[in-house]
Symmetry: C2
């Protein structure tokens, strides 16, 4: 039996090895246009940053063997043809026409089963100057090495990154952190990580970039031209012209489906290769998976394009099984991801508020700040989680979070992501069982607290305002009708009371019942504490006194600080 695999990164090698382990007699041939195969593409930003010193490390196994042609031959008995392009699939004859990119020779590879592991290609913005040689995408190790060489030789000091998605942010960190380059980030939409996290949380990420010295983050700007004498010297947006000696376009990727389309295979509306749950294309002898297909989103039940090295590996194993007669099915994804941005991790599962709103559902979000471990345990740090849920049926649609400790954040996001396919309601997350010991979590974990808070909001008991709305009130037209009632202890509140006389008032929550006569009755009260917990208690106490014109600031002063509101 002959299996041909087009594409030798992530999915291709995984499927190849799985096939050989299941049946060593099968002949597996894997072809790739590149000379370097089976590398960890997700590691490229860390190679550029210097966290990973050599490109070869991205191509080695965990036991330090380079996954090259010889490795696949010797260790896996898999034939790899590098610098080889698949130019046509001849479905009737069951062959793939391939061309050597070295000498141009063509040949036919017969297959019994064919696997399309063609992956994705980075989008490029088609503007004047986009073809300069120092305008890059983050696509392969060759580009990465050229970028790194430019920096190392001192030929790139003012990089401009276009695109505020995950890869754009990783590239900003790569340039600005260890290399200390004067880096600019441009995003056409009005927030970082659009479609992945809320604008509020995105602002917290932007604030962290600023803390790390990356002040030049320009949102809602369109890059119109890249210019210079022979090489990039400037980037012009609709709002400004920026000095630039290196440009990285990180504006998303597209599924590589041309070859499949030419062969008459079905393509989705999104331009991906259409497959069934067993990863068969419209030709049952041809399989596809990874970045060149779409998945079903198990929260929305709609197709979603979710390119991911991890997902490609999981697809690859199943394809390997099914090519040999298996019938394993892959249900879909919930979009769980994590991202390191300097000292912050951003992670999410399911869908964010804006995506949920776009489905037409009546949705709301809950924002909670709490320690990532017992508050008395050394090293405790605050974690910030947002949950998106359906008001009507209480379905949990997604959770997004930021934290200094990415592992601790994964511990929460992974757990929620694991139950999302079963379509949990809020109460299920209230009762989600997480590993507890003071060094690693709080007795009421932030995940449970998040759901409890969502339930209180839905019940109308916790009437909220979020930090973006708070920022709008501060110094805005609504300010004159508001009092900020700080229910923390006097020591915490004093600097704010001093800075905003008449506007910022302090009555500690535990004194509120005794000092009720001090509470202004004819104002909108914005209740504030460190995290939103005591202010919620205060709201209930005020309700009891028939003072209902109150809003509880979600996340309290912790959110104000993380958001970067210029307040003190």
């Amino acid at each position: 039996m002959n299996v041909v695999i087009i594409g030798a990164v992530a999915l291709g090698p995984k499927a190849a090895c799985r096939i050989k382990r299941l049946d060593p007699e099968v002949k597996v041939t894997m072809i790739d246009r590149d000379s370097i195969v089976s590398y960890g593409g997700c590691g490229i930003p860390y190679y550029i940053s210097g966290d990973v010193s050599e490109a070869s490390q991205l191509q080695t196994t965990s036991f330090h063997m380079v996954r090259d042609q010889k490795f696949f031959k010797k260790a896996k008995d898999v034939e790899v043809l590098t610098q080889t392009e698949a130019i046509a699939i001849n479905r009737e004859n069951k062959t793939v026409s391939v061309r050597s990119m070295e000498d141009g020779t063509e040949r036919e590879l017969p297959y019994d089963k064919l696997i399309l592991a063609t992956g994705s290609s980075p989008r490029r913005i088609n503007i004047p100057g986009s073809d300069f040689e120092n305008v890059f995408t983050v696509a392969n190790i060759h580009d990465a090495t050229r970028i790194k060489e430019l920096i190392a030789k001192g030929n790139a000091g003012t990089p401009v990154v276009i695109g505020g998605g995950a890869i754009g942010l990783e590239m900003v960190e790569a340039f600005a952190d260890l290399w200390g380059l004067d880096t600019t980030l441009i995003e056409v939409q009005d927030q970082l990580l659009p479609g992945l996290i809320s604008p509020k949380m995105s602002a917290m990420v932007k604030n962290h970039l600023a803390e790390k010295g990356v002040e030049k983050v320009y949102l809602q700007e369109n890059v119109e031209e890249i210019g210079g004498e022979g090489r990039v010297e400037w980037v012009r947006t609709n709002k400004r012209t920026l000095k630039a000696d290196l440009v990285v376009m990180a504006v998303g990727v597209m599924p590589n489906s041309r070859l499949a389309e030419k062969a008459g295979l079905e393509i989705t509306h999104g331009g991906a290769i259409k497959v069934n749950k067993q990863f068969q294309t419209s030709d049952p002898d041809i399989y596809a998976g990874g970045d060149c297909i779409e998945n079903i989103h198990l929260v929305t039940d709609a197709p979603v394009y979710f390119p991911s090295g991890s997902l490609a590996n999981r697809h690859g194993r199943i394809i390997g099984t099914n090519v040999l007669g298996g019938a394993e099915e892959f249900a879909g994804v919930v979009g769980t991801f994590i991202l390191k941005v300097f000292d912050m991790a951003v992670a999410a599962t399911g869908i964010c508020l804006q995506k949920a709103q776009s489905t037409g559902k009546d949705v709301f979000s809950t924002f909670v700040v709490q320690g990532d471990r017992a508050h008395f345990f050394p090293g405790m740090d605050l974690m910030y989680l947002e949950m998106v849920a359906d008001r009507k049926n209480k379905a949990v649609l997604g959770v997004q979070g930021i934290s200094e400790n990415g592992d601790a954040l994964s511990a929460r996001i992974n757990a929620i992501g694991a139950v999302l396919p079963s379509k949990p309601v809020i109460r299920d997350i209230s009762n989600l069982e997480l590993a507890y010991a003071p060094p690693f979590s709080a007795a009421m974990d932030i995940v449970n607290a998040l759901a409890n808070t969502a339930e209180n909001i839905l019940a109308g008991k916790n009437r909220i305002i979020d930090v973006a709305e708070f920022e709008d009130i501060l110094g805005g037209p609504a300010e004159k009708d508001c009092i900020f009632l700080d229910v923390r202890g006097p020591a915490n509140a004093k600097p704010y009371v001093d800075a905003y006389p008449g506007l910022w008032l302090n009555i500690p929550q535990d004194e509120l019942r005794d000092r009720m006569d001090e509470v202004p009755k004819n104002k909108n009260l914005i209740l504030i504490c460190n995290s939103g917990v005591r202010s919620y208690e205060a709201q209930i106490t005020l309700d009891q006194e028939n003072i209902f014109s109150t809003k509880n600031l979600q996340g309290g002063v912790a959110a104000i600080k993380k958001y970067g509101v210029k307040i003190l």
Copy 2:
């Protein structure tokens, strides 16, 4: 409406506050025998160790207010009667008879709804000398403070901890780490953490204790007498007499159900207060939760006693809701836990191999070693996971793990724990979606790899031996029939080949096909690599050559080292 709550730690305060937030008009009275209430009991070992410097920190809120009587009155409008004992529940009159432990006065507290938050009491071994004043249990802050004072004053240098469960191990660390005391641990069973992890993984914990200087860990020893002149001077087991100036008994806890039993409430076979899914006892106006009840184990569907501060908090909130007319149900637990032991975290969810075997099912376990993040990412460390599954229906019954990074371990255990109530099969874990980025995980996460390996074992493709069996072979009667075939690179293998001439053979996996004639044909081959992955590949290659007398050492040399096999 009057609600009386007996017990003011964890569940009691949580239920009290929930009730007051739902309906501030309800009168809530909480009584406790202790003078200190609402403390984080799970933090006691960290207070004794010095990680937490003051006992009051365990009693403060995250915003540094002490949760004492005054706090509950002022901040929560909850009456707390401390040093007050409930002596009887008069169900007909709906009152609780309470007695002041200060002045002996008795009174009746009327209730509409009563909540039993009586918790658990530590077991004591009834042996001569167990009543010495420096024989402690880890039950409350008073005992903890006395222990800490003894150490601080230099009056405890050779503590003996009885019980190798979670609290026993935490106490060993508390004594031996920061204080540097010469600490002994005695466990009556044949492993640490019995019933929670496998003997193999337990041996790895024991080995870590030894690495940290705690060499005196005695298993299968029965403490028979504690002796000394006026105070503890020695502890005698069935095997030895140990010098001791402080004894901690950490031999489990029992539900406090006496009061309920006296009141005629139903008690379970295990001695816990019987409740329904809404936490009502056999008297529908009386609720109970936390450490004084049992839960349904969602893997075994049998009752389980699972005392946990986190669980008590979740119970407490539901009880608060239900006391006011709600009908929330609590399905049960999967037993997810985590524990810090020096620089190692131990975590688990579901049931371990021995527990699973005791149910009579045909079960097996899979042991996998893999990096906790991308192998090329700085700071990567190995993680060790064991999965227990049913051979017949492939049901996943539990996963246990150890790791240096407890947060990263939680990220895996929490995710698996989250899906266990839905009774997943192995394939569900193969496809479990976890947050991926190189700084936090591998493209094929260890959780997915664990399930894939389990599937390969079940399919008979991966024929295994575990490190305990390997240790038995080494130097044992079976050794003469074996060859250890090391399929790593020569540099890794050389020290072992040199140390075991004739027994330890090296053929790198990628050279195996070419060097097949060097493979001994008349021996049992134990295939060894660093982690068990390449040796699995080697096994398949040998199968292809009809050499079937092979076993793959699970976890490879990493497991050998972690287990502490004296090999080099």
